[in-house]
């Protein structure tokens, strides 16, 4: 068999194929807009990561100690969330942005150890890193109370540890991001030639007060990032069902009463979602269910589209998404989506 024959074989496989998209440019534009909406959320992490490379000025919240805890190098950048609520502390270390918080739900894919979270490790702290450009998968190191370090790959219950894939070109603008204590995010853009822009979004990580100013972002890109959100980006928004993504549940986990995390078949999540949907339809219903789920939706190529975290640990349903901020209710569409993934 010759190279030409193999070439012919491959060529005949696609010779007659015609794309399905009638207007491919519009499909690409839609996808680019969707990517930008995600970037608005990811920018919280992106700003931090940028600070490692080309950022020339970082605003530090006044009054916060610049001293990092033992074992963590770098400069303390953001106000400890403990000071405004329970949550994370963010550091800029040489190897990347590190976010510390009390042990969250951690999804461990095949081949990795589950993370124990017994009473002795209640004060477990998890370090999320996103050191690699263009890689939305990040590593997590869980430190147990006795100091044991457990490396794993985790899916964040909040989106701000995501790493933006966008390349950061030469400095031409200043981005100032303020996340107010009520969860509102304010973006203030100052381009190199003077014009300023401002946009406000509802955030999915309330209780975090921070100011991060970075230089080195491209002005046009930043303006795209603060492009006014679509109607679906409001406080309640829709799952991207029916668009040209084929979405699937990538990771589902449940946090049980014994505080261990394990992977869960998607059909189990369907059942849970259905129950929660019924609960949410009842005014005042807020039954405690110490379980949490995470859904990572991907397109058909495998690129992450959005993360959803559904948590009932606090006795009240909370479902947030990285897909543009806001709360996502367990709608029939989401249930259908998860059920479809389970069937697949």
């Amino acid at each position: 068999m010759t190279d030409d024959q193999i070439h012919d074989l491959l060529d005949r496989a696609v010779r007659e194929h015609q794309p399905r998209a009638d207007a491919p440019w519009r499909s690409v534009a839609r996808r680019a807009r969707r990517r930008r909406r995600r970037n608005v959320v990811l920018a919280a992490a992106g700003t931090l990561v940028v600070a490692l490379g080309v950022t020339t000025a970082i605003g530090v919240v006044p009054g916060v100690s610049p001293v990092a805890p033992a074992g963590v190098g770098g400069t303390r950048l953001l106000m400890s969330e403990r000071e405004v609520g329970n949550g994370s502390t963010v550091y800029i270390a040489p190897e990347g942005a590190i976010i510390l918080w009390d042990s969250p739900l951690v999804v461990t894919p095949d081949g990795w150890s589950d993370v124990p979270r017994d009473s002795a490790a209640r004060n477990v702290r998890t370090s999320y890193e996103c050191p690699e450009r263009g890689n939305v998968v990040y590593r997590a190191t869980v430190t147990l109370a006795d100091g044991t370090l457990i490396p794993c790959i985790g899916v964040s219950p909040t989106p701000y540890v995501w790493h933006r894939e966008a390349e950061i070109p030469n400095a031409s603008a200043i981005l100032e991001q303020t996340i107010l204590p009520d969860g509102t995010v304010r973006w203030l853009i100052t381009l190199a030639d003077g014009p300023r822009g401002e946009a406000t979004y509802a955030a999915v990580f309330p209780g975090l007060g921070q100011v991060a100013v970075s230089r080195g972002l491209d002005g046009d890109e930043l303006l795209e990032m603060v492009d006014p959100p679509a109607a679906t980006d409001g406080p309640d928004f829709a799952v991207p069902v029916g668009e040209d993504f084929r979405v699937a549940v990538q990771q589902v986990a449940v946090q049980q009463e014994d505080a261990r995390v394990r992977n869960l078949p998607a059909d189990g999540a369907v059942e849970f979602l259905t129950v929660l949907r019924q609960q949410s339809a009842s005014v005042g219903s807020c039954d405690a269910d110490p379980r949490s789920y995470q859904f990572a939706l991907t397109d058909r190529v495998g690129t992450s589209v959005a993360f959803f975290t559904l948590s009932n640990v606090d006795g009240c349903l909370s479902l947030v998404s990285s897909f543009g901020g806001g709360r996502l209710l367990p709608t029939a569409e989401l249930i259908s989506l998860v059920r479809g993934a389970a069937a697949g």
């Binding site: 496989a13 010779r15 440019w25 499909s27 680019a32 040209d244 084929r246 990538q250 058909r300």
Partner: protein, 172 residues
């Protein structure tokens, strides 16, 4: 954003079918191939200012596609379960023979690991040398050689090469 930056919509309109055919080969699936192209074009759009009019946007897009397809080896698509058996292959006189053969070849490509599939397409369809492939994918020439060899061995196992030789002879 309606019409995009200058030249981009024209580039997409003119080169989209060819890029999709490339994407189909790189992924072994028509839907995935189109997804791959669109994802790559989003990246091309993001760097369009440096690619147009002086650069080579199609080469850039194809490189992005290759690397995305190569990285799929580290991602697991759970929405489809590969089957153990190939579908029944077409008879030589079947009027739909070409289409059936295309389905069989794509099915075989899907069953290849992404790294072998990408190397196979770059080596035998795009006609790149092992050194060129290694450079584009950021791996060693030895890796390219071994994966190409395994991919061809798999195609031989499916008798696809026998088929293409036979039908080629019959047509001649």
């Amino acid at each position: 954003m309606q019409d995009g930056p200058s030249g981009f919509s024209g580039f997409v309109s003119s080169r989209y079918p060819a890029l999709v055919r490339y994407g189909v080969l790189l992924t072994g699936d028509r839907g995935h191939g189109e997804d791959l192209v669109q994802s790559a074009l989003v990246k091309t759009l993001g760097t369009w200012g440096r690619l147009y009019p002086e650069g080579q946007p199609e080469a850039y897009t194809r490189t992005v596609m290759e690397r995305m397809a190569w990285r799929m080896v580290r991602r697991r698509w759970r929405g489809e379960i590969p089957t153990a058996d190939l579908p029944e292959r077409a008879q030589a006189q079947d009027v739909y023979a070409d289409r059936d053969l295309a389905d069989v070849v794509l099915d075989a490509l899907r069953r290849l690991p992404p790294s072998q599939r990408v190397v196979l397409v770059l080596r035998y369809w795009a006609g790149l040398s092992e050194a060129e492939i290694a450079s584009r994918l950021g791996c060693s020439a030895g890796t390219v050689k071994s994966r190409a060899s395994r991919a061809v061995a798999f195609l031989r196992q499916t008798n696809l090469l026998v088929d293409v030789e036979r039908t080629g002879t019959e047509r001649a």
